[in-house]
């Protein structure tokens, strides 16, 4: 692929050199802040704040009630402590639950009306909010037909969606792609039918909090038999200080449809940690397929563990129909603390779930991530490939569940978890749960932990690579299985990310 060696050359050489230097010194590339006037909800969370958020989104009363019920529930439950992560107590009353750029008070009619500062922010992030453009970093893909390169973007800035591209073109194909706040207003029957059916409002501490206070997010509906004509993506940017971002994504792939969805996220560098608690629900009907890819690059905090994002996310796909399929791919490089288990409920017969993950933790980062594969239908299949890389003083945990219910006859699971440690001050942990309740299913789990192979390093070094390049190459080889599953737009990004995060960890 010609694009591979061109990926570094983007946004003009000067900027690139600056970025490269920044990367080499281990700097977080997206740590800058957009100076923009904001409207905040008062700090703290209570029923009034819940009503305020609901009001800002001009929601119908059933939605407000749903949120209030979730809030009442949240007040009764306790924060989970089972993950292998340590962080200071979060003061949930010391966070702004809603932050919106002042310029977004009046909803822009079209992307042309959006505040140029916001557009510039996304431009700088390499996420152009122009319909003719493609995601940055894939210039090499120019040879491909124009149709194949289009990516529709929903850009979420703090608590609000700034705009969604290609909406009209998608509508022609029957695909609804908009912010969730818009969907609640415009397509209440769809939202009502599906919201909270995969991740109930009572699911867990953070999902329940999210149900009460989510401010925006993306909504996708792909009608029966439709192959979504382009990739859809949401880009989450946290900008404001002392805010939490709570977004909600709902994706419905109706019978026989297909959609590929990408998600990216970044935040400015700050000394204090910020909370991000999202919920993603995916409904996959008969013969439908959803591909969900994430490159998570929230600010990880500094080398001493100050600041960074606490990423406490609940993601789940419900393969309701027979022969439905879902594929989660994630590259986790950011966040100070990650707590995230994208899961598949394989309800339909012959449904399939796949999970490919690379989690990279450096410095003081802590990641506790994995998946759940719940096999309920007959002949269901799941595959888990998880690669964890720890460097510095980071802790990386794979936590997963494979459950074969009594009725899930003739089902299959294959799990492979590998961990790589770079340096002797970090940790890699594997906590798989395996529950097999019928004998016609086969479950296989394998896991290994190793260090970067000396022979491989020596080979690379003998070919003239410096040590850092060599480590990055070996690690990339180790991660290839996961990277290959990413859509092309991200494969470039991901390979660069692997090199960045492992920067400085050798010697």
């Amino acid at each position: 692929m010609a694009a591979l060696d061109q990926v570094e050359v983007k946004d003009g050489v000067d900027q690139d050199t600056v970025d490269a230097v920044a990367e080499l010194s281990g700097n977080y590339k997206y740590g800058w802040e957009t100076e923009i006037e904001m409207d905040y909800a008062p700090k703290g969370v209570n029923p009034d704040i819940v009503r305020l958020i609901s009001g800002k989104n001009e929601e119908p009363s059933w939605m407000t009630d749903w949120r209030l019920q979730a809030f009442a529930r949240w007040e009764q439950i306790e924060e989970p402590t089972w993950a292998m992560v340590n962080y200071p107590d979060i003061d949930f009353q010391d966070i702004h639950y809603y932050a919106r750029p002042k310029s977004m008070e009046e909803k822009p009619k079209s992307l042309d009306d959006v505040d140029p500062k916001l557009l510039a922010t996304y431009d700088k992030l390499g996420i152009p909010l122009k319909e003719q453009a493609i995601l940055a970093g894939v210039e090499g893909a120019e040879a491909m037909p124009a149709e194949g390169r289009k990516v529709a973007v929903d850009a979420v800035f703090d608590s609000v969606s700034v705009g969604t591209t290609f909406q009209a073109e998608l509508k022609k194909a029957g695909v609804i792609f908009c912010s969730i706040s818009e969907a609640i207003r415009e397509y209440p029957e769809l939202v009502k039918k599906y919201l909270g059916t995969v991740v109930p409002a009572t699911d867990n501490f953070y999902a329940t909090l999210n149900s009460a206070v989510f401010s925006d997010g993306s909504f996708v509906y792909v009608p029966p038999g439709v192959r979504c004509p382009m990739e859809l993506s949401t880009y989450f940017r946290i900008n404001a200080e002392n805010t939490g971002q709570f977004e909600r994504t709902l994706i419905i792939a109706d019978k026989g449809s297909y959609v590929s969805y990408l998600e990216g996220c970044t935040a400015p560098k700050r000394d204090t940690a910020q909370l991000h608690a999202a919920v993603v629900e995916i409904i996959v009907e008969e013969d439908a397929e959803v591909k969900y890819s994430t490159v998570q690059n929230w600010y990880p905090g500094d080398a001493d563990g100050n600041g960074g994002i606490y990423n406490f996310v609940t993601k789940r796909a419900d393969c309701r129909g027979d022969r439905s399929k879902v594929m989660w791919t994630q590259v986790e490089t950011g966040s100070a603390v990650t707590w995230k288990y994208p899961s598949c409920i394989l309800r339909g017969d012959e449904s399939q779930g796949e999970f490919y993950s690379i989690a990279i933790a450096n410095n003081m980062q802590q990641a506790d991530t994995g998946t759940k594969m719940v096999h309920l239908g007959k002949n269901t299949k799941s595959r888990i490939v998880s690669k964890g890389i720890s460097a510095g003083k980071a802790q990386n945990t794979y936590r997963g569940l494979v459950s074969m219910h009594p009725k899930a006859k003739d089902s299959r699971n294959y799990t492979q978890c590998d961990s790589l440690l770079i340096g002797d001050k970090c940790g890699a942990h594997t906590v798989p749960y395996i529950e097999v309740k019928n004998n016609s299913s086969r479950v296989e789990h394998e896991a290994t932990t190793s260090k970067v192979d000396d022979d491989q390093l020596f080979y690379c070094r003998s070919r003239g690579m410096d040590e850092e390049e060599a480590v990055a190459l070996v690690v990339n080889g180790f991660c290839k299985e996961v990277l290959q599953a990413l859509p092309m737009e991200f494969a470039m990004e991901a390979q660069a990310l692997v090199a960045i995060s492992l920067e400085g960890s050798v010697g």
């Binding site: 395996i434 529950e435 296989e444």
Partner: protein, 428 residues
């Protein structure tokens, strides 16, 4: 953190009326400390993460549930092996049925006698290894055992033992509630084999504390009876030092509830620890749980966990295994495999094979599989004229072989193999 009310209540109910046994002052001290550990931890509850797959209620409730006495219809295991026999009937030492407690290279004593002796080497181990094993996971039933045990053996191996010590646990009373605590010290360069057989009681709590000094070798072979109704919780706490060897194998055929915890701490370089288990479970009343925790705290060490379970007719098999490699425990070679063979659609296999690693130059692998009998292999055997039952039994034995191979002594392994074959043949 305060204990949940439900645990406080269950713990209070169980401890109600318990008076600590008399003994030497160090023993009283150890028992008192153990009791306060129990109070601090609270007895286990189904909602505890560590008891997620096994309901401890019958182990915790004040009275032992009734268990019919199984009528032995075969020759006792290891009968042909020259050994020091130590017999316990429903948890009480029976001198008449036991051998003289003497053998070259060994000092063997009744626990009760040791605990009554003012100056005794067992002071440095009794409840001490158990306490070390309480971190990072609480094992309150082991602490309860330390607090209340009056019987068991203490063994010191000073050289290569002339013959194995065979602990025989007989069950005669339908409601017996036995508590046994054994302490073993293998001195530097010494070697001993411990055999344990029998169902023991209606409810059985057993703790084994083993300290293996530099270059010492400890072999442990255990067959946990074949009764249907016994409930047991056993703990083995081992600390092994430089160049030492620890090998433990357990065979379980039925028993209502069996929870075997094995906690191994490798503290010296170049030590080897293997723990293995084979289990055959038949029927809804069968619940078997192997919980293993191996800690590597030294360089160049090897650990292996090999657990195989054959389950049918609604039997439940559990494996919770963990390898913890501490910072600095470089060149660790850790291996863990747990496999189940489900002979029908009702049985369950629940596993949690964990790794926790803080050193970068190590190789740790863990595998876990579950599935039905290989139809192709079955077909092959049938096509050679072997009937279905015999073929299934052959494949079952082949499946269990990797675990049985962990027994070093061919005579002991052969005896277990014969017993297992006999059991399978009679059951089918």
């Amino acid at each position: 953190m305060a204990l949940p009310q439900v645990k406080q209540d269950a713990t209070a109910a169980r401890l109600d009326g318990i008076t600590l046994p008399q003994g030497a002052s160090w023993a009283s001290h150890a028992r008192k400390n153990a009791l306060s550990r129990v109070n601090a931890m609270g007895l286990p509850h189904r909602r505890d993460e560590y008891w997620k797959f096994t309901d401890p209620v019958t182990l915790v409730q004040p009275d032992a549930p009734k268990a019919a006495v199984f009528q032995q219809d075969e020759a006792p295991l290891f009968e042909d092996v020259d050994r020091v026999k130590v017999v316990f009937v429903d948890g009480v030492f029976d001198a008449a049925q036991s051998s003289d407690l003497v053998a070259e290279g060994l000092e063997i004593e009744r626990l009760a006698d040791a605990l009554a002796t003012d100056i005794h080497w067992a002071k440095d181990l009794y409840g001490v290894l158990e306490t070390r094993g309480q971190m990072p996971v609480a094992r309150p039933l082991a602490a309860l055992n330390t607090a209340t045990a009056t019987d068991g053996v203490v063994i010191r191996a000073t050289g290569k033992a002339q013959k194995p010590v065979s602990l025989i646990y007989l069950h005669q009373n339908e409601t017996s509630d036995a508590v046994i605590h054994n302490v073993i010290r293998v001195e530097a360069g010494a070697e001993v084999t411990l055999l344990e057989t029998g169902p023991a009681a209606a409810r059985f709590s057993k703790v084994l504390e083993v300290d293996v000094a530099d270059g010492g070798k400890f072999h442990h072979v255990r067959a946990q009876g074949r009764d249907h109704e016994r409930r047991a919780v056993t703990h083995c706490f081992a600390r092994i030092d430089s160049g030492s060897l620890f090998k433990s194998f357990t065979l379980t055929v039925n028993g209502s509830l069996t929870r075997n915890e094995c906690v191994i701490e490798i503290v010296g370089d170049e030590a080897i620890a293997h723990v293995a288990g084979a289990c055959v479970g038949d029927g809804k009343d069968f619940h078997h749980d192997d919980t293993v925790f191996v800690t590597h705290d030294a360089v160049n060490c090897e650990s292996r966990q090999v657990f195989k379970k054959v389950l049918r007719n609604g039997a439940v098999g559990v494996f919770q295994g963990k390898i913890l490699v501490k910072e600095g425990a470089q060149k660790t070679d850790g291996y863990q495999i747990s496999q189940s063979l489900l002979l029908d659609g009702d049985s369950q296999f629940l596993a949690k094979p964990e790794l926790e690693i803080y050193a970068d130059d190590v190789a740790c692998s863990h595998g876990s599989t579950s599935g039905a009998i290989d139809e192709t292999a079955l077909f092959y055997l049938r096509s050679r004229g072997i009937d279905h039952t015999t073929a299934t039994n052959l494949l079952t034995l082949a499946f269990l072989a990797e675990a049985l191979e962990e027994i070093e002594d061919d005579v002991l392994a052969g005896a277990l193999q014969d017993q297992l074959e006999g059991w399978l043949a009679r059951r089918s």
